[in-house]
Symmetry: C2
Subunit: 353 residues, 2 copies
């Protein structure tokens, strides 16, 4: 049933197109999908062909590069309006992950600094920037992995939620990057993966990534996390993040908040691994982070398998916010920040760009 063993290339640039794994189909089917325009990429982000905050950022950057390549043969006005529309479409694709806006801002600066140049040159420069964002993301994840690995002991059983792996980034992963780096460093680590309803990123993606690399992984339903912690079977929790407010509050996949409450109750360290591009200093606290509500269809079943009683109302917030005080440490490419708060975050990370 599963796709054959192969190196995970979540996104790649091939023959003037962006190609991405269709993550909705994994692990039943492994399929690379081609994207030729910003509109296609925006739809791919919205429909979750690609997901994971860093991967969304990289995809959006390529979306701009694609649009510039597509339109550079047109007249100046069409090129300009087309690019502006592309920025807008991509910015509206998903609201919570700030990496999307961060990547678009980076692409926009390149464009704005080159407005006088030839469209073909601008297009080339935008592609180079997207490629830089892509490559940097892998390097950043490797740095996150190095720093985070030091927090794990040999034999640790690490619970993770959703997928903050290679599939959520350009490669290596954030939360799973920490686990990978610890394993590469010779530590024996086993993973407990929450299935992560409704989209099942844990069961489908995290389990798949870990099985590919022979890292022992045990799947549980989301409501078993408390049982596992109470039974003494969890040594640490590591999750990714979609947006971190200036005070250290963390927006991440729905269910993360619950894990933080449970980890606190059981004195288990709760780590958040993310690139600095996930930090949003413009937002004071997590209360101001916009939380996406997705279609109820995701909750009443999975894919075409629908099981809920007809006529039921549905809620489907895709993310929740964990207060900074429950985060043991933030693991970034610039190192580990214990007990994050506004002051410590300012001190350590404000010279980030």
């Amino acid at each position: 049933m599963n796709a054959p063993l192969q190196k995970v290339e979540t996104l790649r640039w091939r023959n003037d197109h962006l190609e991405m794994i269709d993550q909705r189909l994994l692990p039943t089917e492994f399929k690379m999908v081609r994207f030729g325009s910003a509109a296609e990429v925006a739809a791919g982000i919205r429909d979750m062909v690609v997901r994971g905050a860093p991967a969304i950022g990289v995809a959006a950057a390529y979306g701009i590069a694609l649009e510039a390549r597509r339109l550079h043969v047109e007249n100046e006005q069409t090129f300009k309006c087309g690019l502006e529309s592309a920025f807008k479409q991509l910015a509206e694709s998903r609201p919570t992950a700030v990496n999307l806006f961060w990547a678009l801002d980076r692409m926009k600066s390149i464009w704005q600094s080159r407005q006088q140049e030839d469209a073909q040159v601008i297009a080339q420069r935008l592609l180079e920037e997207a490629e830089a964002i892509f490559s940097e993301d892998i390097q950043i994840n490797r740095a996150i992995g190095r720093h985070g690995a030091e927090l794990l002991k040999n034999g640790d059983r690490v619970l993770t939620h959703c997928n903050a792996g290679a599939l959520a980034t350009a490669g290596h992963g954030t939360a799973l990057g920490v686990i990978r780096s610890a394993v590469e460093g010779g530590k024996k680590i086993s993973v407990i993966a929450d299935e992560t309803r409704p989209f099942l990123q844990g069961a489908r993606l995290t389990a798949w990534e870990m099985v590919q690399e022979n890292i022992p992984v045990t799947l549980i339903t989301d409501n078993m996390a408390g049982f596992m912690m109470k039974s003494g079977e969890v040594d640490a929790v590591i999750v990714g993040a979609d947006r971190v407010a200036a005070n250290g509050d963390v927006a991440n996949k729905i269910g993360t908040y619950m894990l933080a409450v449970l980890a606190k109750q059981h004195d288990i360290p709760f780590y958040v691994a993310c690139p600095l591009s996930t930090l949003d200093f413009s937002i004071a606290t997590g209360d101001a982070i916009p939380i996406e509500e997705r279609s109820g269809h995701e909750v009443t079943g999975f894919r075409d398998c629908q099981w809920a009683a007809a006529g039921v109302n549905v809620r489907n917030p895709a993310f929740d916010v964990t207060p900074a005080e429950w985060v043991t440490a933030l693991i970034t490419e610039k190192g580990v920040l214990h007990s994050p708060d506004t002051e410590r975050l300012q001190q350590k990370f404000t010279c980030r760009t």
Copy 2:
């Protein structure tokens, strides 16, 4: 897709057979299944055609009655051995819900007190006892409902887990019985139903029961409960129970423990509604309650829809244990016991039989 509106008859005695709704098929399909022997009933309990602690008890009692009717034409030795084997098979069908053993004990006392009588008379008396257990269960649930309804305020939004409804009992329900009684008493109550992976009793059964009766119900995935509580959208949590230890520790569907931790964190009352037959004074604390581990196939997907990565390990504990200190009150047919502990439980309930 859903079954037509009709009164829920979870179990019923018809034409010398036990008929039960096949709860594995709800709400997609509404099907009554006939059972003619103890072995068939034991398989039905094990495979979750019927589930819910009180309903399992009633089904097991009918299982004994069925077997006695089936064997009363045989010679004394065959009748005796057959009944003994029936008690054993039914006792082994599921380990956690104590109502199963309570009902079997009740049936066994009848049998043991009548050993000298004619097999046909014994069979008749066993059927009457099963019918008494059935009828009493409905009366008990109505009493639980009356007592519990007083704890709810008009307008309350009540979160529940799994299905402790008419489908989990002979009728009316325990946790949902409290909600039904509050609604019958003129209070406006809305329900938030956890979907309750892996068997999805919340999405399939609780949502279905509430929709049938026009009680407003909102479905969430299990990992959204923390979000809902933090957002101030939950006024009370009410769950059922599969076994309550002498100190008040509560074994109930996996995920209940997590809800208790979250409720405590948010100062939301956490109520457990159950008949006194769920109390097991022979077990000092919840640590000694046997927790059933079911097949991993339930966690890697649902029915024929399988989605998890091949090669992943799976855990599937069907229940967890919530410490008594986190239970705001136990709601029974004999009234509400606040802050249950060994002493209070002894005082209030030991003259129960």
